[in-house]
């Protein structure tokens, strides 16, 4: 028989429904896997084993009493920028190393309400700023496919946890690719939902107009399962969309023939590595075989989206992170003689280099005399990106593109070269700028066996459609490899 941790979440759910497995057995198996594996991977910052087993028992009771929610008894790992009442939420920063929030994020509360079992909190780049999870104050996370390589970031801990079977499901957050890129590097599936589809309440803000919480898992179906549990309108988030959220999971098996998939040529510029390019083109051919139509098109604003993203996200971050001032909670440096020195020393010592770089950049672009040239200009670019996608998605159902220019690179390879790191976000950030949903999933491997990821970008609130296309693709891909 297959190991418990080798199952998909959907399979585990079915096994619990048939009483073949209990939530306790499943949770215990994952905790054992964490115990065994995580010292080599470093996916978790906090493991809440005791609470997890108690929650598993409660889930088993609920199931016996016929009160099972949609995720009843399923273990979930939660990125450490999502507030969990009573459990420290560090954002992988020295600044919040001892911060325990008194309240829980809406998305996490929804997981709890659906009966999910939290295994622990996962590692990330500090305050979600970075693409490798090396910017964690605590330790870097390693890529389970090749531990000498980065897992991607900033949700590297969540992606690695899922890839190394230390959790069947995980929550990440995506501001410029932070779910999709680590999913691609670790060979798992990740969804960045439409802006407004998942409440941001309780997600420690990086860039408020771009941030979204989303699911990571080993299959498209599991991603759909988790997404269905966390999406929905939240009156505590003014940017949350009040609308009907229909199940994406139940729509996965519907036919995809006749789908029109756009392939913008700008995504195939000189920065794209050969293996990724081949992976995407092969994926396009597979979609054609599955009955979809590939439409070549253009996305002229792609190149300007990246600088616009760094202006907007840094501007918002500089303001969002100002509250970490050493006064009320979090790290306070010792040895101050004035109020200003509390701010200065606490922030200088409490934040890592990348975070400080973004705060400086953001403060600069918002400052008097520069606002129009940077922030305002970036907002104009944002409008162009929105319009470009709107034009394409008016005639096509979705966009197919690479997630990252290369496969996972070596740990330390790009540390100290932030520009190189930023350039790696070029394919993912336009999606956040336009507020669209996108699913990242494996579509091949390079010659070293490293996963190649692709993304399908949908219309606003078109999660069901892109997940369906992704599901059919993954089924076909798996069958061929099997």
């Amino acid at each position: 028989m297959k190991q418990i941790t080798a199952h998909t979440a959907a399979e585990l759910l079915a096994a619990m429904e048939k009483r073949e497995l209990s939530a306790r057995q499943i949770t215990a198996a994952y905790l054992e896997q964490i115990e065994k594996t995580d010292r080599h991977i470093g996916a978790y910052l906090t493991v809440t084993a005791k609470e997890a087993l108690a929650a598993a028992d409660a889930a088993d009771t609920a199931r016996r009493q016929g009160r099972a929610g949609s995720l009843c008894g399923l273990p979930v790992a939660v990125k450490d920028n999502i507030c969990t009442a009573g459990v420290r939420t560090t954002c992988a920063s020295k600044m919040l190393a001892d911060f325990t929030p008194p309240y829980s994020a809406t998305a996490f509360k929804k997981l709890q309400a659906a009966g999910a079992v939290r295994l622990g909190k996962t590692n990330m780049d500090e305050f979600a700023m970075g693409s490798t999870t090396e910017n964690s104050h605590f330790h870097p996370t390693k890529n389970p496919v090749d531990p000498t390589r980065v897992p991607g970031g900033s949700s590297g801990g969540s992606a690695a946890a899922v890839a190394s079977r230390q959790a069947p499901l995980a929550l990440g957050s995506d501001t410029g690719g932070s779910i999709r890129q680590p999913a691609a590097y670790c060979g798992v599936v990740g969804l960045k939902p439409t802006y407004g589809a998942v409440s941001r309440y309780g997600l420690v803000a990086f860039a408020s107009s771009l941030d979204q919480i989303g699911p990571l898992a080993n299959t498209v179906e599991d991603v759909a399962l988790l997404y269905d549990a966390i999406c929905g309108h939240d009156p505590r988030d003014a940017t949350s969309a009040p609308r009907d959220y229909t199940s994406t999971r139940t729509a996965l098996w519907q036919d995809i023939s006749g789908l029109k998939i756009a392939l913008p040529r700008e995504y195939f510029g000189p920065g794209l590595s050969a293996p990724v390019k081949q992976g995407i083109l092969a994926a396009a051919r597979r979609f054609e075989q599955l009955g979809a139509e590939i439409v070549e098109t253009t996305l002229p604003s792609l190149d300007s989206a990246l600088p616009a993203y760094y202006v907007i996200s840094s501007a918002e971050a500089s303001s969002n992170l100002a509250r970490f001032d050493g006064v009320k909670y979090g790290f306070r440096a010792a040895g101050f003689t004035s109020r200003d020195e509390i701010y200065l020393k606490s922030r200088s010592q409490g934040f890592g280099a990348e975070v400080k770089r973004r705060i400086l950049l953001g403060s600069f672009v918002l400052s008097a005399g520069y606002f129009d040239a940077y922030y305002k200009k970036a907002q104009q670019v944002r409008t162009l990106v929105v319009q470009d996608f709107a034009r394409i998605l008016d005639t096509c159902d979705m966009v197919l593109s690479p997630v990252a220019p290369t496969t996972a690179y070596k740990l330390g390879e790009k540390q100290g070269d932030p520009m190189q790191m930023y350039l790696g976000d070029v394919y993912t950030v336009p999606v956040n700028i336009a507020g669209l949903p996108a699913v990242s999933l494996p579509c091949g491997r390079d010659e070293q066996g490293l996963p190649v990821g692709m993304q399908l970008i949908g219309r606003h609130f078109g999660e069901a459609q892109i997940l369906r296309a992704a599901h059919h693709f993954a089924q076909s891909y798996r069958e061929e490899r099997a």
Partner: protein
């Protein structure tokens, strides 16, 4: 004060809106609760928390804007004003920068030289900060109860030219906001706060001088003192050939002076930008009409009516309409008396004094009773001193004035025959006043009239007494 210079004043007024809950969360706004008992993750700015705008705040701000003759923006937004201070938990204040909710309004005030229109530049909504408490033992403490209490900031045009005009503007503004029911306007509790921007320039010059912003002005009298002090300070600088520096100055109520707080060169760059956590504010025509319909008749409309219907002076009518409860009371009593001017005088001279400075303007005398008193006064059945004596009694224990007057025989004495003995008595007792009068000091007659009125317990008719006295002294 040097009259070769004029002062140019613009006011920034913060009024706390009297919503039940805070601007971005469900915490109550009650004043005076124990520290940090009225806060939550949102108003304390905990990581991950998000603001959601309280629609009542928009409704109140729009009503204030309509009452102050502003244009209401159909589309406006909220912006972050970024600065570090321990009373500001998020290190930014959510305010409105370039698209305020209300703009281009005005407010009419009564001045010594007649009516004057003061322009209102804008009204925007924003959140209040917390309160720092400096404790000698525990150091500086932070009370977050006030964090997120909704405010409107009302910015005037630099149309004000004297301390008296500034106070008249503030009193009128307070009156309009109270009428509209959007704020309690309690200066002591800080629900109405005012900053003064003041510059001076030689009379006749159109260019504005460098201005100082005056803070910590907690009462009308401090505002008046601060303005007059600052005017003299700036004028003496100019006369000494020294420049006025653009800065923020704090008024010290102990020495009555203003002291420099921070200079322009140390001013913050607030790095305003639209708050991405909030969506634009839209006020459509239907809502606007509904809010406009909820605004009661405002003091200016009442003032005009009182001038027309009762023949009151603009200044009396302005004072009478300043407080909505007082004006309502006046109108009820005015319906019942043939002497509304006398009523006005009694209200302004006696009733307002009995009300004092308290926040509650409930008048414990039935309007009908005050109307009766005015009729008796108008018909000369009682004297004004009797009315003055009766009012505090009625205030303590209300009753029918006729019954009291009849019971205690307080009717005015108008029969000369009854008054002559009192006249004789006073004349023989006050030889000095008699001498003064005969030497041509006419004020001596007033003293004699007063004494004669008092003799029968204040009941003597002063006109009759004066006539008798004149007649008798001419002999």
């Amino acid at each position: 004060m040097d009259t070769s210079y004029e002062m140019v004043i613009g006011l920034e007024v913060h009024a706390e809106l009297k919503t039940e809950t805070k601007i971005f969360c469900d915490c109550p706004t009650t004043f005076g609760a124990a520290p940090n008992t009225q806060c939550c993750p949102v108003c304390t700015g905990l990581p991950g928390s998000l603001p959601v705008l309280n629609q009542q705040v928009v409704a109140y701000a729009v009503k204030a804007g309509l009452a102050l003759n502003c244009e209401i923006a159909g589309f406006s937004k909220q912006d972050r004003k970024n600065y570090f201070y321990p009373d500001l938990p998020k290190a930014y204040q959510i305010s409105q920068y370039d698209l305020p909710l209300c703009s281009r309004g005005h407010l009419d005030i009564q001045t010594k030289s007649g009516a004057k229109r003061i322009g209102i530049t804008r009204i925007h909504i924003e959140e209040d900060a917390g309160k720092l408490i400096h404790d000698s033992v525990q150091g500086t403490l932070l009370d977050c109860n006030r964090c997120g209490v909704p405010l409107i900031e009302i910015v005037s045009e630099p149309d004000i030219r004297s301390a008296a005009e500034a106070v008249a503007y503030l009193q009128k503004l307070r009156s309009v906001l109270l009428y509209t029911g959007v704020s309690d306007c309690k200066m002591q509790e800080g629900s109405l706060r005012c900053d003064v921007n003041l510059s001076v320039r030689p009379q006749g010059q159109s260019a504005l001088g460098k201005r100082a912003e005056l803070k910590n002005l907690n009462s009308f009298s401090f505002i008046q003192k601060a303005i007059n002090y600052e005017f003299c300070r700036q004028v003496s600088l100019l006369q000494a050939g020294e420049p006025v520096v653009q800065e923020t100055r704090r008024f010290d109520e102990k020495d009555g002076k203003t002291h420099s707080m921070r200079r322009k060169e140390n001013a913050n760059d607030y790095r305003y930008f639209p708050d991405p956590d909030l969506v634009p504010i839209r006020v459509d025509e239907t809502w606007l009409r509904q809010l406009a319909a909820e605004i009661p008749t405002l003091p200016d409309a009442r003032r005009a009516r009182y001038q027309r219907d009762f023949g009151l002076t603009p200044s009396d009518a302005e004072q009478l309409t300043a407080d909505r409860q007082v004006a309502d009371y006046f109108e009820q009593a005015a319906q019942l008396t043939a002497y509304p001017k006398l009523l006005c005088n009694l209200v302004l001279s006696q009733i307002l004094r009995l009300l004092g400075d308290g926040e509650d303007s409930t008048i414990p005398i039935a309007p009908a009773h005050l109307a009766t008193l005015c009729d008796l006064l108008g018909q000369k059945k009682i004297g004004s001193s009797t009315a003055r004596q009766l009012l505090p009694r009625l205030w303590k224990k209300d009753g029918d004035p006729v019954a009291i007057i009849a019971g205690e025989d307080l009717w005015q004495l108008t029969d000369p025959a009854q008054l002559v003995p009192y006249v004789e008595q006073v004349l023989s007792a006050d030889a000095r006043s008699v001498g003064d009068y005969k030497r041509g000091k006419s004020s001596a007659l007033q003293a004699l009239v007063g004494r004669t009125m008092k003799a029968p317990g204040g009941r003597g008719d002063p006109a009759v007494i004066a006539a008798l006295l004149r007649e008798r002294l001419a002999q």
